[in-house]
Symmetry: C2
Subunit: 131 residues, 2 copies
């Protein structure tokens, strides 16, 4: 019987399997920034809310039962990573998801995290558009 140790991890193997940096460090840092911004439950809730359509800060704060300032700060973080759009409308400023890519990321993660238990029907307009 042959040795059954190290079929994939012998020292010489480590040398042989030189791995190249596939992705530029800058890209990794930008992606990490996006994930970090989404990696906070209150902020992620906010994104799912925006996934249903644009809202102004006041409306969001009312829906979440939170302070205006708190919501504004959360939106600032999301905006710094380019995850939300912003446009003024009279006295109000309307926020929304920045683009389809953000909606996809959101949709994929939520679908996975809720393992089919969620009703994402209202997200329909934002679902990944394949062909």
């Amino acid at each position: 019987m042959p040795k059954l140790t190290d079929p994939a991890c012998a020292p010489q193997d480590h040398l042989a399997r030189q791995r190249v940096a596939l992705v530029h460090q800058g890209a990794i840092e930008r992606a990490a920034g996006i994930f970090r911004a989404m990696g906070d439950a209150p902020r992620l809730r906010l994104l799912t809310l925006l996934g249903q359509g644009e809202s102004c800060v006041t409306e969001i704060a009312a829906a979440e039962g939170e302070d205006l300032s708190t919501i504004s700060q959360r939106l600032r973080v999301l905006r710094n990573e380019g995850l939300v759009s912003r446009r003024r409308n009279g006295k109000h400023i309307l926020y929304g998801l920045a683009d389809q890519h953000v909606a996809d990321l959101l949709f994929n993660a939520l679908a996975h995290a809720s393992e089919g238990r969620a009703d994402l029907s209202r997200f329909a307009s934002l679902n990944p558009t394949k062909e």
Copy 2:
């Protein structure tokens, strides 16, 4: 000419547009946990490395020029969120991406963050498998 204020954000509108919680709070928290784990550049680097195939901790540490313990701690965070798989092989413990879903999330974010500048060819085996 009608007033052009508040076409989408009048007070009565706020009341009318009651938004339902589409996603269970638990799902949001799990998704946030996943994003948080991925929201750190060193950990995200680690995931892209594992995207090229399984590695043992020693190999990873050598590739990253980091301490064994540091790598182990990073892997622990990723493991707590179910992002990586682990199997023992002789003296070594091999880590890999947990499933296709993690690979998809990773791939999508990196593709977006590098805006076509990256060479993701070696990720081919992990690319989103549509139909």
